[in-house]
Symmetry: C2
Amino acid sequence: MQSVYVAGVGMTKFGKDPRPLVEIFCQAGQEAFAATGAQQVEALYIGAMNPEEFTGESNIASQIAEALGLTGVPAMRIETASSAGAAALQAGFQAIASGYYRRVLVLGGEKMTHLSTSAVTRILAEVIDREERQCGATMPALAAMVTEKYRQKFRLSQSRLENMLCSIAVKNHSNGSRNPLAQFQQAITRETYLASKLIATPLRLYDCAPITDGAAAVVLTSEKTDVRLAGIGQGTGPLSLRERDIFTSFPATRIAAVRAYQMAETSPQNIDFAEVHDAFTPFEVITTEDLGFFPPGKGGDAVIDGKTALDGPLPINPSGGLKARGHPVGASGLAQVVEVTKRLRGHSRGKREFKRGLAQSTGGLGTNNLVTILERAAAPMIQNPGLPLPPQPPTVAPKKATLPTRLTEEGEIETFTILYVTPDGFLPPLALALIRDRSGRLVMAQGEDNVQLKIGREVYLRRIDDFYLFTVKSQLQKVQESLKRLLRRGAASPSKEDSPAEKKL
Amino acid sequence: MQSVYVAGVGMTKFGKDPRPLVEIFCQAGQEAFAATGAQQVEALYIGAMNPEEFTGESNIASQIAEALGLTGVPAMRIETASSAGAAALQAGFQAIASGYYRRVLVLGGEKMTHLSTSAVTRILAEVIDREERQCGATMPALAAMVTEKYRQKFRLSQSRLENMLCSIAVKNHSNGSRNPLAQFQQAITRETYLASKLIATPLRLYDCAPITDGAAAVVLTSEKTDVRLAGIGQGTGPLSLRERDIFTSFPATRIAAVRAYQMAETSPQNIDFAEVHDAFTPFEVITTEDLGFFPPGKGGDAVIDGKTALDGPLPINPSGGLKARGHPVGASGLAQVVEVTKRLRGHSRGKREFKRGLAQSTGGLGTNNLVTILERAAAPMIQNPGLPLPPQPPTVAPKKATLPTRLTEEGEIETFTILYVTPDGFLPPLALALIRDRSGRLVMAQGEDNVQLKIGREVYLRRIDDFYLFTVKSQLQKVQESLKRLLRRGAASPSKEDSPAEKKL
């Protein structure tokens, strides 16, 4: 396989950008050309998540080729939801690695700020499973439910969880304040974090990446440069929450990481720093665990203890991450690669010398993830890394049936959130929960009210048209039910001893 | 470069398909797996043009991986407008050629028939340059203008043009009648063609590919099979008509063809049959010329003389083409590869033996085109083909400025059409023309009426808000103007001798 190197890179100032999308793309591309010292490329690989709905533009690959003055040059657009920029890098990598092309320009970009928050939320929510979306679920809602599960699984107190999330937001904003291309260049205090509004419990405004315009560009080449694309991998995972065996890890990241580490002949211990997909602060913790940097449940401690700080042993998101650098969805995965390259080349790294950096990008709710490892070409090859690889990806479960049309009328809360920023047609605050019914199946449901929500709590469940409503059982109801069961047990024949609810199935 | 072979292929029955898009994709994929004898692939490459707007589904790559029972397997979606299926094949080819993967599943699909014709027309028209679109231009309108230019350049009479277009429609419907997976399986007569309604002069209903649902699938592998992917190439061209130097050829096809022929070490003379992108019948003629099968202006004679018939020396679109097989936009480019593979393998080829077939796919109005050459792996290698390559692609013009805000008020018709099926907000019949103003710039404009349209005719041009209106000058107006000029020349000072209209710039 032909080795692939990074030549010039480019990136626009992330934030609100009044220019049309194609112009934003072009600026990043022209910067990468200028840094490479040449405009000749044989092809363009362009990551964009949804320019059709964000901007009304289609045929974006041909448009960008033309706008760059490269009419004639082959151009294709790549999409894997919010990891599209990283996927475009992978397609460009394969094109060079095959020897079919010798130099290509990879681009990633998106324009979002001209739309209302509710319009952006609706478009972003299209990456979610349709049935969960119909219930009012948004990306922040599902991220919040994952967070609640994480808290429960690793037995974190509310205040420990808050400390963990807050530490990530404060760290990433502090890092962003040193990045002239970041959307937010102001450090924030813990007080600012705690005073920010709730979006979906337990996530606050400062737990969520902003809406952003921007583009990034990387010239890949078969000629040797100072930065080598050492490893790359991709994996997918289930779309819906209710089809998951595990909520507190994204298997897609683990699959991608194993491949990238193997190809780079390295291991998590040899990574000097990483840019990871912190679209929501808890994702940073989960991802550093999935990448094998910290054991499951220990990613939060690492942040709180300063291990992932800019001057810590393993800086995570030294650029500010999606949180502070901004998150133009199709750009983020490639912007990470731009940031890693710059840091390896010595920009803004201070006295430290970095040899190997990693970028991890997440598409949707952890459904299409990529890992890329870059190293300084002078970095010594590790002959026998004795691979302490990250935990093996869990065995992939076969495709399950879609939502059952009949359900038992009782269940318990698997995870939940209260959504304060709702999509059009849903009034806040909106209680959402994943309910496990008596047969073990999961269903997304709206709460009739939003009190007494807790993982494990028993609920009644009813279906209304296309969606489900749940109510938490009161103490009185529970006592009444126990009584009924006792009475029935006394009166009924042996064949009726089991729960009548289960028989209905 | 690792050789790449075709293993199993699959394809749904094209036409109206009531199933959700993901299910349509899965059927094609499962057929290809069944034909390959194994479901193990290392990645999915999925061509789809615009599932977001056609079906409201996003994150389609992850959805398809999950629905195929392949959760975990890397999946990416590729888009190049209506050639997305062919572009996905190219990305999959590069992945195998690099050695990064050994076996991948390439898919292409689209679901369109559930929407109204006007909604589909609007979504398809997003691939057109924005300013031309605002004028009411649709894909059929621009294809019609290209046709009118072709007629004028090669001095075809109206009846010769009609004969040429009709011959393609009749041939492709006849071929489709033998293809059990084609949308239309009825041959048509010349009378049926001539009685069909005008869509955009001179194009009739039977000149336009239908709206279709469907998917195609190809398993690519590094293991030797009976069909080798011998050559592949891609090229781009300007989006807008008004930025073109040439209207009667698509340079993007020529660029793609040169690369594919070079890689396959072959030439047009060694191609036994081809599937080409006949979204509009005139595109088949232009494409067979761009591919080097016939000299410019001679593609029509070839059809009329039966050279491209099923039993002719160079069958073109033996499957029925987009015209009769149907055109689910993201599927078509890959469906061609499925058809070529089947024919090479001896399905439905009768007594003839085909060694080498070509597939050509067009994105937008010839803006993102791909050429793929497949050959029977037993086919003898041509050592020195003495390449009589197709004409060199024209030098790529540098990017021109966008639409000027001020224009001279006179110009002449470069090409035109009368559109009978208009997008929402435009009443039929709608006269559209590309007008060349006195400074040589081109602008798309609506006619104030639709009489006396002809290439070269002089018009007045006025700007109203975002678009332009033109009126053909009457004989009286021309006489009056000549008179005025004569009078001015007599009275004016020497510095005012030139056209006052030009001075305004």
